[in-house]
Amino acid sequence: MTTHLEKFRSEVRRWCQEHIPPDWRAAQTGVDDEEFVRFQKWWFAELHAAGYAVPHWPAEWGGGMPIAQQVVLYSELAVHDAPRLVLAFVGIHHAASTLLAAGTDEQRRRHLPAILDGEIWVQGFSEPEAGSDLASLRTTARHDGDEFVVNGQKLWASGGKHADWCLLLARTDVQAPKRKGISYFLMDMKSPGVEVRPIRNAIGDSHFCEIFLNDVRIPAANLVGPLNSGWQVAQATLGAERGMTMLELAERLGNAGFRWLVQSCPVDDPIVADRLAQFEIEITGLRGLCTELVEKAEAGTAGPADASIVKLFYSELLQRMTDFGVEIGGLSAHTQLVKSSSSGWESGSWVLDFIGSWEWTIPGGSSEIQRTIIAERGLELPREPSAL
């Protein structure tokens, strides 16, 4: 068993050495959108050719890698500082897990192979008036014959301008209590009436987008799960992917992230060294939590707050670490005005990484929302009075 795993590890190592371009970071620093998309699609195809792009999918769809091997794979990709799959992320994780859990056979056959061929997905959940209170979303989908007609506005759609398809939550029953009137759709981004506008974020990037939907017609066949059960579908698939994706991020933080921090620090200063040791301890704890979450998710024994604990702890650790990188880097840290795209959340350009770390503490359920989930689901504390 162990020797089998070690054999796999050396396979992955060899593959990494042969396939990861040694100069990719420099080459991908300050590139335009077109080059970013080209590089992401090329890297996805490389991983896919090796069987490393969607190891978490079922075997019949091109995955089927045992969990223990996936852990080894992500750890080695991190050790070798591989580019991160940014563009394909929503497709291979959220879209795939939604289709596998709640999609029809036809929907799976249409989209899963397409995702492997490079189809890009975006998540259309949040709205201007529906952030933390996602269930109060106002975008409507009106049933009209074989179609739904969608009107509204989506916000924070990461990667929206490159997306081919959108995972869309829209209200199909305006009379029902707010969580019971939402449906889940697959929307072709080329449909007439879809307009994407990039939003410039705090670090100057524009991968977040607004999506305006004006009488967009979606075929009824693109409804996922039963009508008005979109909230349940979204809840079931949102947390499902968290384990392995968090493990990958934890491994990156523990490898390149920590290595860069040590390299940029005067380690002979005992106060600096002490802070580094605190980070190393916290990263070690995080990696343990991620591995355990992956194993428990596989065994079906994950606790109701486990994924939230990991998300909260990672987000805030990333913020503290990148903050320290800026502090220790002095004024010269502030002169690093570009970072390599396709990088992890820590790139070594500490000031950009630090400002960018709010992209972890705010989206995907803010740290405040995570704490409420941990307390209410993990510790069974009384719920706050909430609107229906």
Partner: protein, 320 residues
Amino acid sequence: MAHDFDEFHAELRSVAGDLLAKDRSVGWQTLVDAGWVGLEVGERLGGAGATFSEVAIVCQEMGRAASTNSYLGGAVLAVGVLNGLQPSETRDRLLTEVASGTTRLAVALESSEFVPDAEGADRILVVDDTVGVVDATVTPQPVLDETRRLATVTADAVTEVLRFEGDPETAVGLLRNRAATAVACDSLGLSEAMLTATVEYVKVRHQFGRAIGSFQAVKHACADMLTTISVSRQLVSAAIEAVAEQRPDAGVAVAMAKSHACSAAVDIAGKAMQLHGGIGYTWESGIHVYLKRAALNRSLFGSPAAHRQELTKRYSFKGV
């Protein structure tokens, strides 16, 4: 196999938890009769032939109950020292007597100034490059934490000198790792007890017409306690495994677990006192017992800063 161990561990945890919850002060003979003192003593010497992993479970339950007894000095440290010695008649006799409860030992590991559980011990094992079996004058060092007994030990007569099996430095390193991990387990159990007590309290305490546990300021503090404990749990498990398997690099996992779990326990017991409000500050509530024990644990066998300093020695070359 792993599954069998899991079941055995769960049972040990449950039995230990029940027994220790009955009375904060547990007599030595009770611990002997429960089989916990001789857990790591070989079967042919009357022990259970178990490992440090099982001892660690007992230590965690000791912390959960803030139990007052001599387990740390008389079992965890003493049996650890004896098991590390070259085979000898004295070693086997002492192990047999410890397991049967006829002799209780204490261990002066890092200094003779703050020796745990020395008071009332029949002999003291003084650890240096060798181990001296010592008759000693024991002067109690009263500490604010009333659940622990520390004392200054002055050797009157060395009755025998015993040698470690193998390199003494390695053997002493292992003993330090065992001691630090045992205390980290204690702090983890203590933290879990404080979270449980706090969650129960904030569910029933009402102010402004609501259970205070429904307020975000309170529930988010509880969520932070759970998150911190989850991290401690990972680090402590890793340390237990490294020590039980006597890995050469066990010191790394131990330093991480000791510094994190023991720092966190003080924060958590402190937050428990805060969230219990005025009642938490009373003597009767008992929260102070945990806070004091947590603070003492943090100082026992290496402060968090000292353990982190051990870790930083690995950073001196560029690129860990």
